[in-house]
Symmetry: none
DNA sequence: GCCAGATTAGAATAAAAATTCCAAAATCAC
DNA sequence: GTGATTTTGGAATTTTTATTCTAATCTGGC
């Protein structure tokens, strides 16, 4: 019954999955995806637990195991279990180990950035003022159009915001500076601007922020310090203290703040829309 | 039968063991010692496997579990298993939590994203294979030009890479799709492509990755699962298991991986350049 | 829209594991 | 050394889990 060409390690399982997964029918593909996404759970769960989590019947999971070359689930689980104990010395020790080896290897550098990212995220909860965040959401929710301004290091933040707002169907203009075309003049009194910049502050961003203020548009700032020019202009300040590794600043905290902001604004706008509709109906 | 004063965590189990182990008879002490020495095996083994390794009868192991306050082995194993998988709680409970706390206050949402980001980062250390990372750095270091491909949700990652590589003075082309202009034809055999895409995978990204392979360019993939089409194409896989909050995927881990990759490549290229110069001088 | 083949769901069955039980052995007090 | 008490080993039982089987459903070609 049991093929002797059954995978012998988790890596083999994975490569087999990536080879075959295209030719799998729907349910088996579900199994493949679930196992690929949750390899650790295979070691400590039963067929029915896994199949339920994967949204399939136990028998489907069974076929999945067999299609991979195992005699059944038990054989597959054995492979996952033997790898399991190697994983046990967890993240903490792993990180330490990498630190010892110095900044030589890319993995050590990765560990460094991971650690810094975690610290930045931790900081974020204290550096962002909840009241300011709520005010920002309020302003952005009522804006006709939201303008996103941020260049160079800040551009990933604005482009992520652009993606999120598009998905949320919030009218948004991403000021990308492509082709040297300035979009400044598209800013109107009912609009709001999210300006993202960190020290040393981008001239271009400050200029556009200034124009926004002149036109009586709302201004929300994602920036690093209270001394930021954006704050002085009277922007609603969302402060992110991001840490550096070498010459590079991590962006984890800024991105997390950005996505939270976007989702909150999306929810707030929906609520606003709903209330407006109710008003009309009555 | 089951005491409700059963240990709830592995730590509790250990403290109970150290309290009681003196008063245990010989065989039960053997069990205690074995569990203390091999906590990782408890989660993935059966009673008979453990009892055999500990040099006792299954029934003795059974009594050991009960003397610790558990109803039996199964209950004890559950504690050991959940303690492990708690490190990566499943989406289901996460999402539920979010719904409970609601999108009530933006701060609550922010807290959620921070938490998810921290987890993703933690997991990044185990999901990225150090060998693959090194291989990726090697390929990118020797590339004449590095192409960055990633759209929509992945675009912040590629734009961040673009920024970093520019700062590091690494020749880079960011395939942005602006103006509908395709940059595919700029990919040449000595080049390398960093393709970033997560399920559901972007057609456009896969197309360009495919072209890269056809032209014999190196291909590095930042993606989420081994089942990713990029992996099947033979790309060097850097796997990031990012968690979703609602419909949105955090990007903390991907960004951290990206910046680590960029800095490592920058360093490797400098070293390569230096070695070339030395060769010329001599 | 109908048929052939593939795929699936769910019940039925087989296997394996946990748990209990009890007689045999060991330990201890006297 | 003897009897009472604790501890142990191993088989018997119960429960859980893996696995198989079959009827029903779906899918793709014509």
């Amino acid at each position: 019954m049991s093929d002797d060409n059954a995978p012998k390690s988790i890596d083999e399982v994975f490569s087999r999955i990536s080879q075959q997964s295209d030719s799998f029918p729907k349910r088996l593909k579900q199994c493949a995806d679930f196992v690929a996404a949750n390899p650790d759970r295979v070691a400590v769960s039963t067929v029915s637990e896994l199949s339920e989590s994967a949204g399939v019947q136990p028998s489907a999971f069974m076929r999945f195991c067999q299609d991979l070359g195992f005699s059944g689930f038990s054989q597959m689980q054995k492979v996952f279990r033997s790898d399991y104990s190697q994983k046990w010395p967890d993240y903490g020790t792993r990180l330490e180990k990498l630190r010892e080896h110095g900044t030589e290897s890319p993995s050590a550098l990765l560990a460094e950035f991971v650690e810094v990212g975690r610290m930045s995220l931790e900081n974020l909860m204290t550096s962002v003022d909840p009241a300011a965040l709520e005010e920002a959401v309020k302003q952005l929710a009522r804006a006709r159009t939201i303008h996103l301004v941020g260049f160079r290091r800040a551009f990933p933040v604005t482009s992520y915001l652009g993606y999120a707002f598009e998905k949320l169907e919030v009218p948004t203009i991403l000021h990308s500076g492509i082709g040297g075309i300035k979009l400044d003049h598209t800013i109107q009194p009912d609009d709001a601007v999210i300006a993202v910049t960190f020290a040393p502050y981008s001239e271009q961003t400050l200029e556009i922020a200034d124009i926004a203020k002149q036109r009586d548009a709302d201004l929300v700032a994602i920036t690093d310090l209270v001394t930021s020019p954006l704050v002085q202009m009277g922007a609603v300040p969302l402060l992110v203290a991001e840490l550096d590794v070498g010459a590079f600043r991590a962006l984890s905290a800024s991105l997390s703040l950005a996505i939270s902001l976007a989702v909150s604004v999306g929810a707030a706008r929906e609520k606003l829309q709903f209330e407006k509709n109710m008003l009309h109906d009555n």
